[in-house]
Each structure stands twice: as structure tokens, then as C-alpha cells.
Symmetry: C2
Subunit: 230 residues, 2 copies
DNA sequence: ATTACTATTTTGCGAGTAG
DNA sequence: TCTACTCGCAAAATAGTAA
């Protein structure tokens, strides 16, 4: 989904809806309200919502009493993308986005996921290396959560999901990163914003980052997300 | 200028130009380049630049050899506005934007400007009070410069400029603020981003803030810009 | 009240091409 | 090569109105 393929009206509508909390919950709204706010006709507002719904950018339930609208995760992602492009536009000299966080121990879930053979194979082909069979959990500092959101707006490396006998495995979104002090390439897996504890980042690399950098729980690390200016 | 009156194409173009440093300097570009990048026809790219130029959003000098384009301050302001709207969309629970800075002594220029009778009169009518005849200079901390840029994206109170015998006086842009610890209303004058030392904010209020809060040079103050959710 | 269909008008794109 | 005109067609807007 390219944000520039949306019309200005659709983007404005999305922003308006998000400002009214439609990213978190279903909100009540009427097409007339939207029409008045944007100084367009009620019909256009209706058609616009219809289209956003078809594109899976919002979910929309309409009735003769009004409408219930909520942004999908794709809808939120469009706003993230726009924010990312805008950040590069307003700071054209920026060469990377910085993150600081502290190392902590998870419950080995990362290890479980990363070592699924189907994922492993895609990591190898998409990132160019076979990752170490575990992840380094980093809790991003409060001052850097915005930066995490910014990175979410960039185009990720997509590790495709798959179906297993027990359950389906989702696509995994990776972002190429650099850990200060470490030579090896690193990729970060950023959970969706909606998750509880969305300030967590899981790092994968060819090597065991924790061992090489001699990290203990609570140690701070600095991470950079490179910005490639076309 | 309402950002929602621009087409998606115009906004994308503006972002693209800014990413290529057109906010700081004239950049060389051809309409064919733009056409290829956005997968549109060369004619549409040409028309689009023409329109942005007419709207004073960019300056554009075209010749049979190519084009020179640069964003005007209005062009940059549109990006700021978009950023501001996006910020509210991505953080709908935010009730204010915080600034921290340190007090310093200027050379009395603020005092000179504020006390022009024509300005004084507009301050009274637009802000509802006659400001103290001096400004409090605040140097905004590095971590808060982004927040300053955000505030720039909001709709300011505009104190109209005027012509005097000696020289013209520009419009003054004010933003309603709150200084923590002070009851009285405060307004901030934020210089244009292009100025050297754009991390400076001049506060005006009915009272002498420095005296009431007993501020010395170097003291830190905390400022809030309230966000009104429509 | 709503949403949303149909008809009509307006806007805007791209192709061809001149300067 | 560039920019930028005219023209024909397609997309999208509004108005009227039905459900």
C-alpha cells in the first residue's frame, strides 16, 4: 500500500478519524458530520468511507442511524508511513534514527519463533544470514518510543508467515538496525503498536549479541536505524 | 491556507522536494524526474509545480534546461501543519505539548518590538490583555526543539504587521502557552525556523514573568502548549 | 434522521506536439 | 533535451431523491 495512491481527502479523513480516537476503538459518526467538517457533500463522504472500507483501511458499519468506524492496523500504518516521510522531509540531514533501551530477559518466546524452520529460511534469504537461535529483548526508553513509532512507518523486510499443523504463524516485520559497538548486521522485530508492552524490541543477528557485547539484564544499549535518502 | 485543500499529489510533491533539501535551498529538478518518481505524466508534474508556484508554496524558475525549485516559508509551514495534525492523530490523548528551556537576557529587542503601539493594540484585542513592556527570552533545550516545530504547525494568533516611517514591521505569530507556576496567560513568539537561533522563544504576558517567578538567567522553566481537541 | 443510488456537471489526467 | 499548450476522455464531484 503506497500512501501516495490515496487521495488527499482519504488521508485527511483518516487523520480526522484518528484524532477522534478511531485508532483505538469504534467511534460513532455520520457522513453529514464529515461532510460539514470537510466542506464536501454528504455523498462524497459516504463514498469515501465506502472506499476506505473496501481497501481495509477502516472497518465501517453503516445503518440508517449513523455509522461506526474504526481504523484497521493498516489504517494506522498509513499514518505511520506518512509520519516517517514527513520526518525525513523536515529533517533531510538526518542519517539515522536513534533508540536507547535496556536489555531484559524474556520467556524464550523469541527463541521459539525465530527457530521455526520456515522463518529461518526466509531470514536467510531476506536478510542474508541465518540468525542465532535466540533474540535479545530490549525495552525501549520512554523518550524513544516516538522513534520506535517512526521506524514502524518505514518499509519493513517482510518475513512471510505460514500455516503449521497446530496454528498459523503471522508475517514477521523486520527493520535493519545497527547496534553501537557491534559489527554484525542486526534486525529488529517491532511488535504492533496495539500490543500491550509495545515498547519492546527483539533483536536478531547472526551472532549472540548478549555474549559478544557481554550484556547483562538492565544494561543500556544504543541502536541506530539508518535512513537511506533516495 | 488549509492543508486539506491541497491534492494528495501536491502534498507528496512537497514532501519529496523537502526530502531533497528544497526547504533550505533551490534545487535542480526536471518535471520528467518527478513524473518518473511518482509514475505520472510529465505534463501533470509540470502543471502541479505551476500550481504550487501560483499558490506561493514553492518558487519555481523553469527554463528549457530544467527547473530550480525551492519551498517558500509557506511551503514549509504546510509540512509543519501536516506534522501537527498527524501528531494529534497518532496521540489523541495528548492534552498539551511540553517545552523546557532556560531563561536568558536578550538585547532588549523584544521590548522594542512589543512596545510598538500598533502591535500593542493588536495584542490587547487578540490576546485580551495588554502585555508587559518586555519579553522573557527562553532558550529551548535540544530535546524540545522538535516540540517547538510541532507548535509552529498549529494555527497561530496573528498580530498584523504595519508600515512605519522608517521600515515595515512583519506580522507577529503568537501561540497561547502556559508557564508552569504562573497563573497569568502567556503567549509565545516563535521565530521562523530559518532564522539562526531558531531555538529561542520570547514570552509575553500581562505581568513581568521574570519578576513574579523570580527568575535569573540560566533558570529552567517548563512551558505547556494546550491542545484543543475539536 | 440516516445511507446511498442515479444523473449530470466538473475536474483532472495523459497524449500529442509546439516553443 | 527541456517546459507547457490544447484536446479528448475518464474519474470524481454534486444534486436530487429513494429507502
Amino acid at each position: 500500500m503506497d500512501i501516495f495512491s490515496l487521495s488527499s481527502r482519504e488521508i485527511s479523513l483518516l487523520i480526522y478519524l484518528a484524532q477522534n480516537r478511531a485508532a483505538e476503538k469504534e467511534i460513532e459518526i455520520t457522513t453529514t458530520q464529515l461532510a460539514n467538517f470537510f466542506k464536501i457533500s454528504q455523498q462524497t463522504a459516504s463514498r469515501c468511507l465506502l472506499k476506505l472500507n473496501e481497501m481495509r483501511i477502516v472497518t465501517w458499519k453503516s445503518s440508517p442511524k449513523g455509522s461506526l468506524v474504526m481504523l484497521t492496523s493498516q489504517g494506522t500504518h498509513i499514518l505511520d508511513q506518512l509520519r516517517f516521510e514527513l520526518e525525513k522531509a523536515l529533517h533531510p540531514d538526518l542519517t539515522f534514527i536513534e533508540l536507547k533501551g535496556t536489555v531484559f530477559s524474556g520467556r524464550g518466546e523469541g527463541k521459539y519463533y525465530v527457530s521455526r524452520p520456515a522463518y529461518m529460511k526466509s531470514f536467510q534469504s531476506q536478510l542474508g544470514y541465518k540468525p542465532y537461535h535466540g533474540t535479545l529483548n530490549v525495552r525501549i526508553g520512554n523518550n524513544y518510543i516516538d522513534h520506535l513509532d517512526l521506524i514502524r512507518g518505514s518499509w519493513p523486510v517482510i518475513i512471510p508467515g505460514f500455516e503449521s499443523e497446530e496454528r498459523p504463524f503471522d508475517d514477521v516485520l523486520c527493520y535493519p538496525l545497527k547496534v553501537i559497538g557491534l559489527e554484525d548486521k542486526v534486525a529488529g522485530i517491532i511488535p504492533r503498536r496495539t500490543h500491550y508492552g509495545a515498547n519492546v524490541l527483539e533483536l536478531i543477528s547472526k551472532v549472540c549479541i548478549r555474549d559478544i557485547l557481554n550484556l547483562a539484564d538492565g544494561d543500556e544499549i544504543v541502536i541506530e536505524f539508518p535512513l537511506t535518502h533516495d
